[in-house]
């Protein structure tokens, strides 16, 4: 057998002297107990938000899109801002599950399950916005290239908006498959421990008759690798195509070649911030501090400072190029963006996205739970402003000064946005109650290399010289 060893420089990923049995016990416990009062309060509150959202949307569908604040000049407002914001948040899950799997990052196992769930719920929220933005929502299926009885009426394949339909739906499908396939062995674990008939039945169906044979695991590993391979280009493609919604146009402020990679970096940035927001709470409420350690949070904060700085370079590049282009329209667009009546949104974006993550250069702050939690919210506020800035401040000063306008949302738009929070948290509360929030099987893969008790035993290996170590490695069994 292969020698289990990892460097002493790496901190343990699993604390508390865990055994395999204890891992199962810790993660299954919240599922097998009755939900706490706190859970009920949170769940009901989420349902109320969702209900208000449903009411706002119904109002909009009944009276028409005129109940929103958007107008002829600013045709995209909160709706598309929120769409891009939610899609962006939905990036971290797939990045963690796919790209970090390919990069063999052991710390992903502590956070991937919750991050993937978050991805799926965020994409569900995102999808609502373009659909209801259509106004006559009963015609929404027109975006699908279905053979139809409407004569030559087909979607425009040259349109980036149509590419987005395919991008988002593919992304959602693959993310869902990835998430679910990882859940199968864990569902089987819960099934095997189930004390009630109904629970045994339901988790039995969900686990597809998993028995944990070597063949099962072999198929499972092969599938994970294939899905990781498929998801990796998807992580890049989804937000790339979202950026095409803007960048393929000839609108100053939208038409920039840097948009695709910069959108992807921004999406990962906001996604990791949302993961941190949720996991800081989840680890506390479900007492999972041994599995989602400060080390995990620090690793995510490092990704946040990296992607935040990439986004910062992109903002400055855009601003510089607007001047450098010597194109008067570009220059004016950015002047109105930075110094116009919406100046506050630009500076809020800069402060939240570029300045605030720089605090994470300091180790003390990266490992501070309260600070992490606050900053993760600041980042997501900033990323919301980024999309608002891109959309509204590129549109509100049109080519014709007679079309210049100012845009504010109405209660229906805001209600819609609040409603998606309701949807997101309703789903997340259900997930946290009925699903294992940490991947049980995957944690067990890393336990013997990264568990604190196993790492203590490795100290003997650390003391050895290289020759002695090679000798041990060659004779390990």
């Amino acid at each position: 057998m292969h020698l289990k060893y990892e460097s002493f420089v790496r901190e343990p990923l699993i604390n508390g002297n865990k055994t395999y049995a204890q891992v199962t016990e810790d993660i299954c416990r919240p599922i097998e107990q009755k939900p706490t009062r706190l859970w009920y309060m949170g769940f009901i509150f989420s349902l109320l938000l969702l209900g208000f959202g449903a009411f706002s949307v119904t109002w909009e569908v009944y009276w028409g899109i005129g109940t929103w604040g958007i107008n002829r000049t600013v045709g995209w407002g909160w709706d598309i801002t929120n769409f891009v914001w939610w899609v962006g948040i939905g990036h971290a899950g797939t990045l963690i599950s796919a790209i970090l799997l390919l990069f063999r990052q052991g710390w992903r196992t502590g956070v991937n399950r919750a991050a993937e769930a978050m991805t799926i719920f965020a994409v569900m929220c995102a999808g609502q916005f373009p659909i209801f933005h259509m106004g006559r929502v009963w015609n929404a299926f027109y975006v699908l290239p279905l053979p139809n009885t409407r004569g030559a009426l087909w979607p425009n394949f040259n349109s980036a908006l149509l590419w987005d339909v395919f991008a988002i739906s593919t992304y959602f499908t693959v993310s869902l498959l990835f998430w679910y396939s990882g859940l199968v062995p864990d569902f089987a674990t819960i099934r095997d421990r189930a004390k009630t008939k109904l629970r045994k039945k339901l988790y039995g169906v969900a686990s597809f008759g998993w028995t944990g044979t070597a063949k099962n695991w072999q198929r499972f590993e092969a599938l994970s690798l294939v899905l990781a391979g498929l998801s990796t280009p998807l992580v890049l493609s989804v937000h790339t195509i979202v950026s095409f919604d803007f960048a393929t146009s000839v609108i100053p402020g939208w038409h920039a070649t840097i948009f695709p990679p910069y959108f992807v970096a921004g999406a990962v940035f906001s996604g990791f911030a949302m993961v941190n927001t949720l996991l800081v709470l989840v680890r506390k409420i479900f007492r999972l501090e041994d599995y989602i350690t400060i080390g995990h949070i620090e690793a995510m904060n490092k990704v946040i400072v990296l992607t935040g700085s990439i986004v910062g370079v992109a903002y400055l590049t855009e601003l510089f190029m607007a001047w450098y282009s010597q194109v008067v329209y570009e220059q004016e667009a950015f002047k109105w963006r930075v110094l116009g009546p919406y100046w506050w949104s630009y500076w809020a974006m800069m402060a939240c996205n570029v300045v605030s993550p720089q605090f994470f250069w300091f180790k003390k702050l990266r490992r501070n739970i309260v600070f992490t939690f606050l900053l993760s919210i600041v980042v997501n506020i900033g990323m919301w402003f980024e999309r608002f800035v891109i959309i509204v401040t590129s549109l509100y000063r049109d080519y014709l000064p007679s079309s210049w306008t100012y845009y504010s949302p109405t209660w229906t738009e805001m209600g819609f946005y609040i409603g998606t929070f309701g949807l997101f948290f309703t789903c997340f509360f259900l997930f946290a109650k009925y699903f294992p929030v940490v991947a049980i099987a995957e944690i067990k893969f890393t336990l013997k290399t990264s568990g604190d008790n196993y790492k203590r035993e490795m100290q003997a290996l650390d003391e050895k010289t290289v020759e002695e170590f090679i000798h041990v490695a060659e004779h390990a069994h």
Partner: protein, 402 residues
């Protein structure tokens, strides 16, 4: 104590010297025949030097970036052969110096009508005059010196810190954490040079009217993937010499994955830049691709995509090909050559228009640069033990499975 010393074989040294001599001969030939010739001959003389010096500098500097990135991400995979990127990084100053000489000669030495950087003398061009607070000799010189200076310093510093770690007490992490901090600092420097200003000044300003916000990231991707390929070539060479016995197919597989993934990443950026400009169809922007895609450079334009995208995706996709020494060496050479062509397509059309050449001068100069690379890096490699015996990740890398 494990020791693994590399002595520069006389054959390698001879090859390096011969290549360098070919380069010098080409330079002298160019000096004698091209420089006194017609305007586009002069432009050819300088543009070829510009293309090569900047290309070799960027590709070497990628080694510093790779060390910094692996350092921050706690990458254990690279430790088995990290003396290779260290040696390449420590010689960045050589290519930096050459690039500075070439760039400064072009900017300061070519009189009233600059054949390469039109912005040096705008001659009433309103757009270039508008840009002059950025595109001017002083700023150009300042940014160039600071960039080359910082890169060279970090390259040398990273290697010397890594060598100091060898002599430190066993499992001491003092230097290790210092290197992590330095890696962060380097990333900051690199983001403000390679990821933004440096390619704007040195390459994008050749087509002085044209602009693309993505440009520097695109150049970075090109340099990064070539940098990985370069590390691979040196590692396999050392392995063939009987050094680096701990480096196995597992480690080569990693480098193969990086070459594969970042070839795709380069293509992604290539496509993003091209497609958005093509789709929007704004004349000020499409002019850049017009001459490259439909004009006299069409052959190179498509060769660029075939070498850097089609071949890597088809050949490096399968697992066995990333674990086969022949395939990865072949692909590493293809990628380096492919991105040299990429730099050719970036630099030549502006100054030379339809008068492009790929002849004795172009090939001779590139031989010279390869010669310098061989001589300097091999000499550095021979100076110290090839196994970083005291690196805290060394034991991990010994049992590494890709």
């Amino acid at each position: 104590m494990i020791t693994d010393r590399f002595e520069v074989p006389s054959r390698l040294r001879t090859t390096g010297i011969v290549l360098l001599l070919i380069g010098v001969l080409a330079l002298v030939g160019g000096f004698a025949t091209l420089l006194p010739g017609a305007e586009h001959d002069q432009a050819r003389f300088w543009t070829v030097l510009l293309q090569n010096s900047v290309f070799f500098l960027f590709v070497s500097a990628a080694s510093i970036f790779i060390q910094a990135a692996a350092g921050l991400a706690q990458g254990g995979w690279i430790v088995a052969y990290r003396r290779v990127p260290e040696a390449i990084g420590a010689n960045v100053w050589v290519f930096g110096l050459i690039a500075l000489i070439v760039l400064f000669s072009i900017v300061f030495g070519l009189g009233e009508h600059n054949p390469i950087y039109h912005w040096v003398h705008p001659h009433g061009d309103k757009v270039l005059e508008g840009k002059s607070s950025f595109l001017n000799k002083g700023m150009f010189a300042g940014f160039s010196i600071v960039t080359v200076g910082l890169w060279s310093w970090f390259g040398i510093k990273f290697r010397s810190m890594s060598l100091a770690q060898d002599r430190a007490p066993r499992n001491s992490t003092k230097i290790y954490w210092k290197m992590v901090a330095m890696s962060g600092a380097f990333l900051f420097v690199y983001a403000l040079s390679m990821m933004s200003t440096t390619p704007w000044y040195w390459i994008m300003s050749i087509d002085a009217h044209w602009y693309s916000t993505l440009f520097s990231w695109y150049v970075f991707a090109s340099s990064f993937v070539s940098g990985m390929a370069l590390i691979l070539l040196w590692t396999v060479y050392l392995k063939n010499r009987g050094n680096l016995e701990f480096v196995t197919k597992e480690h080569m597989h990693d480098l193969g994955k990086f070459m594969f993934a970042f070839s795709i990443f380069w293509t992604y950026l290539w496509f993003a830049q091209f497609m958005l400009i093509w789709y929007a169809n704004i004349p000020e922007e499409t002019t850049y691709f017009k001459i490259r895609m439909q004009g006299p450079y069409a052959f190179f334009f498509w060769a660029n995509l075939i070498l850097n995208f089609v071949l890597p995706i088809l050949i490096l996709m399968a697992r066995p090909s990333k674990r086969n020494y022949f395939t990865i060496v072949f692909m590493a050479m293809t990628i380096i050559f492919g991105h040299w062509i990429d730099f050719y397509v970036m630099t030549m059309p502006g100054p030379l228009q339809q008068h492009w050449h790929l002849d004795w001068y172009e090939l001779g100069i590139v031989c010279g640069f390869i010669g310098i690379m061989i001589l300097t890096v091999s000499k550095t490699l021979a100076k110290a033990d090839l196994v970083p015996v005291n690196n805290p990740f060394l034991k991990e890398t010994l049992i590494h499975i890709s």
